[in-house]
């Protein structure tokens, strides 16, 4: 067990910079997930920890030792790969014991530890099978057993569940959490699936285009995203964004306005471009929003498409008159659309005109130019009518 520290890691390939000045520290026994879209550098960052890639700049520390130039075998790390990477010419026992057999353990010790590892991942009785005789989930367990059998200081998992079917993935997710609780080993986990990141980790490191965007506990990333990218990436469906301009007494977007005191928003002045972000569950139908302490002025909208999910219904709202095209696009990018999530018993149907309000305490403001978060949650305002009048004028 050990902590892992990355100091200003940069990895350049001939024409691209895969990882750009990433610094972070993973505490002993912590479960940290690197999450981000494809090509964001998360796997490369992990490979620098494993030693499979040497960073162009920066240092890697495991425990108290600098390991930047050490070979992977000397780092005390174990890794589970996306493609599982079991050795096809070896049976399960040989696969699990591969690392042990390379070191000087006697046969009895090897057998004991392999059986113990197989026990942890519930693979008893399968030690003499070949990998191609196993199901996807069993192969994944063999890969995990191979990783835990050496008692590594750090566990690296590179999208270990990506090749499994959806049901098995959820199951293995809970198993991995159980494993982490039992072993208490430091785990660095890479995924592009934010659901995996949210459910399993102690902290999430969100990466985009090789840069670390935010490293924080899952709910902090969800409730107080550091910038517009994190806000849009974490959460499904993703946050609504509306580009607007800060005016003397509020924020004016193309289709609605939100009253606020510009002094509330640090770092910007009147006239600056500010993006408003609001999650689908913080959009409410005006008539049903009575019990919320503070809401924005009602916004006129027309429902477009409903997506009943069972436990909730996603309602696609059109804000502008001429809107109605390009619904297939990501609602987060279209500022004249709004995605609302309501309970299934809400009476709403397609092509219905209605008024919606936004929960003021759950609004997020971002600097449109830099994308940095300016403020999460606006203070209460007592005169909800003012928005209506100024909009009319």
């Amino acid at each position: 067990m050990a902590r892992v520290r990355l100091e200003h890691i940069t990895k350049r390939y001939e024409d691209v910079t895969a990882v750009d000045d990433v610094s972070l520290e993973v505490a002993d026994g912590e479960f940290v997930t690197f999450v981000g879209p494809s090509g964001c550098g998360k796997s490369t960052t992990m490979e620098t920890v494993a030693g499979l890639t040497r960073p162009s700049e920066g240092n890697v520390y495991i425990g108290d030792d600098e390991v930047t130039n050490l070979a992977p075998k000397d780092r005390g790390v174990a890794m589970v790969f996306q493609n599982i990477a079991l050795f096809p010419h070896m049976d399960v026992f040989e696969n699990i014991s591969f690392g042990l057999r390379l070191r000087t353990y006697d046969d009895e010790e090897i057998r004991r530890r392999v059986e113990q590892a197989a026990d942890v991942v519930q693979l008893e009785g399968m030690l003499d099978r070949m990998p191609d005789e196993l199901s996807g989930g069993q192969r994944q367990r063999v890969a995990i057993a191979r990783a835990i059998v050496r008692n590594p200081d750090v566990f690296l998992m590179d999208e270990p569940l990506a090749n499994l079917d959806a049901k098995l993935r959820v199951h293995m997710r809970t198993e991995l959490q159980r494993l982490h609780r039992e072993l208490g080993t430091t785990i660095i986990y890479v995924t592009h699936d934010q659901a995996e990141a949210m459910t399993m980790s102690d902290r999430i490191a969100v990466l985009n285009e090789g840069r670390l965007q935010q490293i924080a506990p899952p709910l902090t990333c969800y409730n107080e995203p550091a910038n517009r990218f994190v806000a849009g990436f974490i959460g499904s469906p993703s946050m609504n964004f509306a580009d607007g301009e800060l005016v003397a007494d509020g924020l004016e977007t193309d289709n609605f306005r939100v009253d606020l005191d510009p002094g509330e928003v640090p770092g910007v002045t009147v006239g600056d471009a500010v993006t408003l972000g609001v999650r689908p569950e913080d959009v409410h139908i005006a008539s049903a929003a009575g019990d919320l302490p503070a809401v924005t002025a009602p916004i006129e909208a027309r429902t477009d498409v409903l997506e009943p999910m069972g436990d909730e219904v996603f309602v696609y709202l059109l804000l502008a008159e001429e809107a109605g095209r390009s619904m297939a696009e990501d609602p987060a990018t279209a500022s004249d659309q709004l995605l609302m999530s309501v309970t299934p018993d809400t009476e709403v149907h397609e092509e219905q005109d209605l008024e919606v309000v936004l929960d003021r305490s759950k609004l997020h403001l971002f600097d449109s130019a830099s994308g940095e978060a300016l403020r999460h949650g606006l203070v209460e305002r007592s005169e909800p009518e003012s928005g209506e009048t100024s909009k009319a004028g």
Binding site: M79, N83, A85, F98
Partner: protein, 362 residues
């Protein structure tokens, strides 16, 4: 009910003379039938518009000979034609490859002095030639020499080509393509072009070699054949192994390295075992090529078995100043082929089993 109705309708439309395709089939049929009326065919074409065309069992005997009949069935059932072509080709190749062996056997079995007009059977029967071969010359010694030379060359080629194949197949480094092209170019050189400088080199005395070879030269040692022959057959092995090693998923190598091997360890523990068919192919090809090689084998020794002369010198040894013992040359050629034949049969099984095991499924 509605289903039935539909079926009837479609049958009707098939038989309908308005349908231009059906009309053309009918016309074609009339031509092939020699203008015979085709009442039965017309009935049949209602459910299968063109199956009747050439498969007409009933009136085929009237106007078709066996060859026409065969052609007709082949057109309607092309697999028959392909099978026939396959057998023709197989028989042709078997004949051209196996007949020389058969003839060699006939020559070997014919007693000395009666070899004038052997065509398909031997003039007499003298299996003793296969024994005589070993009595006249120490032929087993020549065979042993060849075996050692071929094995040594194969080992050298496989080890060096494995390292080269790993580098070319799995690493990115500047100058990779030019280097690969250089290997390719060298493989195009005629081996004879190297002979004179090499022969000169191998006849030069080197002090360092004295403890090993006695006189300090490589002439009359296996080295004089292993070194040039390994180099000559190396490019082919490099190409074969490069393609195989390049196909092993990176994840497997990474896994091995994280588990505790070096890159070299991963090559020998994971990549080479998984490329067994490729390694076997490269090995067998090299072994056979070296075993069969003529030029260097003939010129790099003085032809004495104790000086590592290979099998070739043994076979040529039955050709004396005053007589040529063709039956012994034939018998020794057959004996010389046997180890290679066994190797090919064994290795072929290995190659096939390696390919069918689907070893690379992740």
């Amino acid at each position: 009910m509605s289903d039935d109705h539909e079926t009837t309708e479609s049958t009707e439309s098939d038989g309908n003379s308005d349908d231009p395709l059906a009309e053309r089939w009918r016309q074609a049929r009339r031509i092939t039938d020699g203008g015979q009326p085709a009442e039965r065919g017309r009935e049949r074409d209602q459910d299968a518009p063109h199956a009747f065309l050439l498969e007409d069992e009933d009136d085929a005997e009237l106007d078709r000979g066996p060859f026409q009949q065969w052609v007709a069935t082949s057109i309607s059932n092309p697999k028959r034609a392909y099978r026939a072509m396959f057998y023709t080709a197989t028989i042709f190749f078997l004949l051209t490859t196996l007949f020389p062996f058969y003839w060699l056997l006939m020559v070997a079995l014919t007693p000395e002095g009666q070899q004038q007009d052997i065509i398909l059977t031997p003039n007499g029967f003298n299996p003793g030639a296969f024994i005589e071969v070993f009595q006249t010359l120490p032929f087993h010694w020549y065979m042993f020499n060849s075996f050692v030379i071929a094995t040594a060359s194969t080992v050298v080629v496989l080890v060096v080509a494995s390292l080269a194949g790993y580098a070319f197949g799995r690493l990115e480094f500047p100058g990779k393509t030019p280097l690969m092209l250089l290997v390719l170019i060298i493989s195009f050189f005629p081996p004879a072009a190297f002979f004179i400088p090499l022969n000169d080199l191998f006849n030069t005395q080197f002090f360092a070699l004295e403890p090993i070879t006695g006189d300090g030269t490589l002439y009359n040692t296996p080295g004089a054949m292993v070194l040039p022959l390994s180099a000559i057959f190396m490019p082919l092995a490099i190409f074969i192994l490069t393609t195989f090693y390049a196909q092993i998923p990176d994840g497997l190598e990474d896994a091995a390295r994280v588990e505790g091997t070096t890159r070299l360890g991963a090559l020998f523990r994971v990549i080479i075992p998984l490329s067994a068919p490729g390694v076997a192919t490269a090995g067998v090809l090299t072994f056979i090529a070296v075993y069969n090689e003529f030029f260097f084998s003939f010129l790099m020794t003085d032809g004495q078995p104790e000086n590592w002369a290979p099998i070739l010198e043994g076979i040529l040894g039955y050709q004396g100043q005053y007589e040529v013992m063709y039956h012994l040359m034939a018998a020794s050629s057959i004996i010389g082929v046997i180890p290679v034949a066994i190797l090919v049969i064994v290795a072929q099984e290995k190659i096939v089993s390696g390919l069918t095991a689907g070893a690379l499924k992740e």
